[in-house]
């Protein structure tokens, strides 16, 4: 059976969730990706990816308590499931396998 591999954005999302856990909610996840990659992350795109990942059983979410600073709206905290962690590892292994033995990539960047 083929392993579940992630798209680049899904991989970034899952890595960000791992990096900012247990405070992995929309703004923190988006900020972490923006800080690490310099890529602007739309919250709508992040939530769409997170919902897809949740539907596939790679992340789970719980709703926190509502806070006045957020206009009485709660935070939705995400965490990786064991299946999500396995998908991250599988993707890393697949990418590493493709990286190996490419002379152009062994040269130092100037």
């Amino acid at each position: 059976m083929p392993r579940h591999l992630l798209t680049d954005f899904e991989l970034m999302i899952l890595l960000a969730v791992l990096r900012v856990e247990p405070q992995a909610y929309g703004v923190r996840i988006a900020r972490d990706i923006e800080g690490a990659t310099g890529r602007r992350v739309l919250l709508g795109a992040a939530y769409a990816a997170l919902e897809r990942l949740e539907a596939n059983g790679l992340v789970s979410s719980i709703i926190g308590s509502a806070t006045p600073e957020r206009g009485g709206r709660a935070k939705r905290f995400f965490r990786l499931t064991p299946r999500g962690l396995r998908a991250v590892k599988n993707t890393q292994q697949a990418l590493s396998a493709m990286w190996r033995d490419i002379p152009q990539l062994k040269e130092k960047l100037t």
């Binding site: 988006a30 739309l42 919250l43 709508g44 600073e69």
Partner: protein, 143 residues
């Protein structure tokens, strides 16, 4: 110190048009408090609505006329946790605009662009004709 007021209409639009977006609205308020501009929030909201419309999944048989549904439809409905599609009976194809919206729009159209009435009535006639043709073709095919 006074707190910045996020664009409330944008947030209301988001929560109205994107189901289950309350937490995202909270995130947008937090983002706005930190650094984002009003235009930035509007951009986020419009992008979220566009993404929702692109990725919207509907059940294959929204009317639930039969108990036996394709396994795929049941699975998709379960996975995305969506409720069955509702039928729009408001006389308006635009979600959230009902009879009152139409009652406001029609006099406005008469005032601003009366020529549009021709297009409006023409589209109704063409729609009815198209419906009649489709029904008769389907009846003929089913014998």
């Amino acid at each position: 110190m006074t707190r910045r007021q996020p664009p409330r209409f944008a947030l209301a639009l988001l929560e109205r048009l994107v189901p289950g977006s309350t937490c995202m609205a909270g995130d947008l308020i937090e983002r706005y408090e930190q650094r984002a501009s009003r235009w930035g929030i509007w951009g986020e909201v419009l992008a979220a609505i566009a993404i929702e419309w692109v990725h919207r999944t509907d059940e294959i048989r929204p009317l639930r006329l039969v108990d036996l549904q394709p396994a795929d439809a049941i699975e998709r409905t379960r996975r995305f946790g969506r409720r069955g599609s509702t039928i729009n009976l408001t006389g308006s194809p635009v979600y959230g605009i009902g009879g009152l919206g139409i009652a406001i729009l029609l006099p406005l159209m008469t005032l601003v662009m009366p020529a549009a009435w021709g297009l409006f009535i023409g589209s109704i006639v063409v729609g009815i004709l198209l419906g009649v043709v489709m029904i008769s073709m389907r009846r003929k095919r089913l014998g």
